[in-house]
Amino acid sequence: MMMDEDGQISLDFLLGISLFLIALMFIVQFIPGLFIPGTSGEGSLDYTAYRTATILVEDPGWWGNSTSSGTDWEENTDNILRLGLAADDDSSSKLTNTPNLLSKQKITQMMMVNESTLVERLGLYNNVDGTLFSYGYNISITQNDTPQSLNNTPILLGETIPYDRDVSKITRIVLVEKGVEAQFEADELTINASEVEDPILNVTGPLNGEIKVQISNLNITGVDPSFKRLMLDGVQLNEGPDYISHKLVNGTMIPLEPTGKINNSDIVIFYIEPGIFNDTRTYELEIDLKDITFTKSGPPFLDFNQYIKTFYEPAYLTVEVWN
């Protein structure tokens, strides 16, 4: 009888305690899931990405030593206090009037700044009780999802983005300096008297960056007005690797096929790839056209460099940060 009684009690106790333990285990495995999405760490990661992108896009940066300071840190890379990419025409005032317009020199210099300076000056680290943990980061400037090149290096900083982490990402629209552009009216262009359809430009190097040549108000004189080729010092340039040709018809860009007819209201545009005018000398760039004539004869030929302006294109600056 005594034995029986003990047996029943422990079965009851066993059932009670195991119910309790099952519930406890269920809760314990729930606890991390309960608190992790709520930690303030993730919010601050979002904020880090936001802040980094804001500083890069809207601030011209700052340098300083004991005697002087300014926003032109790209020329004083030993004393950088803050990294910013916005172009600034007055380096003594702390603000710029052109946020979102990025300076090519600043981008070039930022790519050369060493890793630890970059992390420190952009604040890409977390300070936990005095110990610094740097975040993983990836900063890039892209156009059509491909990183932009600057002097043949893609503008891409940091590491590849891990797939197994939470990444805070922010994208900003910016204008980046692509190279130089010159716009011509057709009657300004000069020709060799013998070849009235082939205007020639004198281009003085070195010019790095992309080169955009724009010609408007063409004088059509035949039935098949079209573009044939570009010649550089008598050597033909290759469409594709060396340059791309377009015509602008009522605001839309259309590729300029060799046979496509050109109207006199069209604007003809050539994009010449970087690296063609690398040497310090004067090049002769000849544009071979058909059934389009020019009147002003040379030499001297028109000086391309007098017409150049910096040209910008919209691009996306993306900052990604993770722990």
Binding site: I17, I27, G38, T310
Partner: protein, 172 residues
């Protein structure tokens, strides 16, 4: 009989404890936290930022970057309000569409004329969703800038008009 009576007491206790803990747990997860709004907030901030960037870029763009800047686009407005099928300010619409892929937007113009505030819809791309954001940018028009862009603002020669370009944007 005494045995039977005491038999389930521990089981009942365990059950009560388990139910209590689970209910507490559920109550906490249900009421849980301001976590989601944090994410939502940063999404909204991102959306605001990129929309605002689009207007900024259009506003500050030199001639060599974008053919018509924001002032020129607005100055060229013919004074017609848009409806769903036709948009005014097509150049602005095209330029914005280029800068903001995957984002839909409407554009309104607000300005003060004769001391009264006017708001006109000029680009309509659909009905704004709940999470739409509004960003804005100002441009100042004079009669000369209106004339050179071929607009119909009817300004006098000694008049300046400040126009607010209001962009309402949302994710598709």
């Amino acid at each position: 009989m005494e045995l039977n009576d005491r038999a389930q007491i521990h089981t009942l206790e365990g059950l009560a404890a388990a139910i209590l803990m689970v209910i507490t747990m559920l109550a906490i997860t249900q009421s849980a936290m301001i976590v989601t709004p944090q994410n939502e907030l940063s999404m909204i901030v991102h959306q605001e930022q990129i929309s605002s960037d689009a207007l900024t870029v259009l506003d500050i763009a030199p001639d060599t970057a974008i053919q018509y800047n924001l002032t020129e686009c607005v100055a060229g407005w013919q004074g017609n309000e848009s409806n769903v099928t036709s948009s005014n300010l097509e150049t602005l619409d095209n330029e914005l569409a280029n800068l903001l892929p995957d984002i839909k937007y409407n554009v309104d113009l607000a300005y003060v004329k004769d001391g009264e505030l006017n708001t006109k819809q000029v680009i309509i791309n659909g009905a704004a969703t709940e999470d739409a954001v509004v960003v804005r940018r100002l441009v100042t028009l004079s009669n000369s800038s209106v004339t050179s862009s071929g607009g119909a603002w009817n300004l006098t020669d000694d008049e300046l008009m400040v126009v607010e370009v209001r962009l309402t944007s949302w994710q598709i």
